[in-house]
Amino acid sequence: MSALKIKKGSSSHSAYDLRDPHAEAIERHTLAVVVDNEAGVLARVIGLFSGRGYNIESLTVAETDHTGHVSRITIVTTGTPSVIEQIKAQLGRIVPVHEVHDLTVEGPSVERELGLFKVAGTGEKRVEALRLADIFRANVVDSTLESFVFEITGTPEKIDAFAELMRPLGLLEVARTGVAALARGDTSK
């Protein structure tokens, strides 16, 4: 990774800078962080974000290479361009971090999230929930006479939209995995 591709004119802040930190445009970036799956590595990453005041919109982690004990952490974060560059540079210097990829700038990528929705209701509402689930290609993974659990996969926006639709139809509980993302094409990142 290169920490140096910073847009010209993106000024930066010291801890004692009293300017409005939102003066620059806030961007949303998806980062893929490849790490050794060792004890405490997630705490290091999260501690970096909390300690330096960065945002986490979503974070997912799982071991992706069991023989090599390598995990992939996918982080969706927001910040000004210079803050995003700092986040990548700071992640890059954590000792068990192998690679940091900014999927938002390194070419096209796909992002998916899985959500589970428990919706309770009877009569017309129940039918409507099932019909909307069909439109969103959500699967029913649990059912009683008065409830469904839907499983839906898609972009975070699609899942947000589904949640909005389910709310008036008896939405009881939601569980979301957070974003997993890969670059498109035949190269590995």
Binding site: A3, Q86, G92, I94
Partner: protein
Amino acid sequence: MSKTQMTGARMVVEALKDQGVEVVFGYPGGAVLPIYDEIFQQNHIKHVLVRHEQGAVHAAEGYARSTGKVGVCLVTSGPGATNAVTGLTDALMDSIPIVVLTGQVPTFMIGNDAFQEADTVGITRPCTKHNWLVKETDRLADTIHQAFHVAMKGRPGPVLVDIPKDVQFASGTYVSPKQARTSHYQPQVKGDIETITKLVAAMETAKRPVFYTGGGVINSGIAATQLLRELVEATGFPVTSTLMGLGAYPANGKHWLGMLGMHGLYEANLAMHDCDLMINIGARFDDRITGRVQDFSPRSKKAHVDIDPSSINKVIHVDMPIVGDVAHVLEDMLRIWKSRGRKTNAEGIRKWWTQIEEWRAVDCLKFEQNGKIIKPQYALSRLEALTKDHADRYICTEVGQHQMWAAQYMGFNEPNRWMTSGGLGTMGYGFPASIGVQMAHPGALVINVAGEASWLMNMQEMGTAMQFRLPVKQFILNNERLGMVRQWQELLHGERYSHSWSESLPDFVKLAEAFGAKGIRCDDPDNLDEAIKEMLAYDGPVIFDCMVEKHENCFPMIPSGEAHNKMLLGEASTKDAIGSKGAVMV
């Protein structure tokens, strides 16, 4: 002896030996007893018993800063580990390579709130470069070797290895440093040639260039220092340095501007403000350096050489970022500059020096020693005059006014001779650091320039100095005040001196005598030289109680929240100098 079975405790000693460790600073306790038992049964590693674990870490820092080697500490679990936290943070802020080994309760008791249990790796995660909890004896030697590798490689820093007691007792296979897995942490040392060439081209035409050097030059090693000196002499550019970088370029060198920053020299700060090409070598645009970032050197092109990519564009946007080790980058810079014909803008640089000489004529460090009260500046000028020709002199400091005066009035002509807590500003650093320095350099003159308040924070280490016969000189500028706090209260808080003096200070001469050391008090400028000579002549630890002017302020000073050219030169310029915005900053 490539592969051998041994206990974990034995492995610790074996691994330290294989890493070339000669001195360990530590304090025993329940969870490290097996390791102490091994230390007892060998003669390769010398153990220095400190009086508090914070002292152990600062001593290791002093050892590391003055040698360029890794400093090593050994402390017990729980309170031993938590007492080490300040030292770890200090070393992290100043990029000092140290390895701290902590004992831990046995693995099967971790999480049970056992006696002297603390989540050491959890507590020290944000204040170490990396840390490890070793759960199997087979992994112990490998982990310790990795720890040394990580502490030294790239931007140096503190690391910690937490070793549960059952892991120390159990047997496992020892691996040597060569067999250890260190391959994956290999930071980039060579800078980007294209950017270096761009920088060289900018150096060829610059009219008002300045080298702004930092602790990275010293951390990079002696080769970096030599290359810097060669480059400065060859180009004729002026050079200034941060507090951490003093000694990389000699203070008696003819291109030396003096230290820059909040209490830096007038000519250095104005050169930074007015330059057209700033070449930052191993410094990090700390807020003590930049002042108000919007007004920091507004008309210059900036290059930044740093081994840590996260330092670049963190505070100040630069035009030529170069990630790499200082020595490697300087070598390439020199090579490329020579091969392009050793060009500089001679006419421009001559004018630039004329301007700098005008600033220098202000003589921002002038002071008047009159009357019967010793001025702190005078005390340090005399200490400098009487010790600068010593063949082997090391200066440590605590934190505060005395630290800044020491940086201003003492000259450093070699690297690794100046040990001070820069980033964290740890009061209580200097005394234990001086112990670490003296352990590394037994015959040297080691002086800790201190304030009485800082010094009291780790005064228990007098016991260490006495036990190990370390003739460290504690030169205390005693103003019976927390001088820097008092100064800020005077300038910022309406002269309301809230808790910035201590009553009931000890009699430092009697205190020295209570430990079996020598105490000297001096409160008369006419006797100062004799008293300093008496301190230097004494073969053993000395506490020098130098009673100084109580309300002296440290100048020059850039008020926080202001630009470099808004510098205060003396008492007359202080009225309402700091606005409410500046008061928010520290």
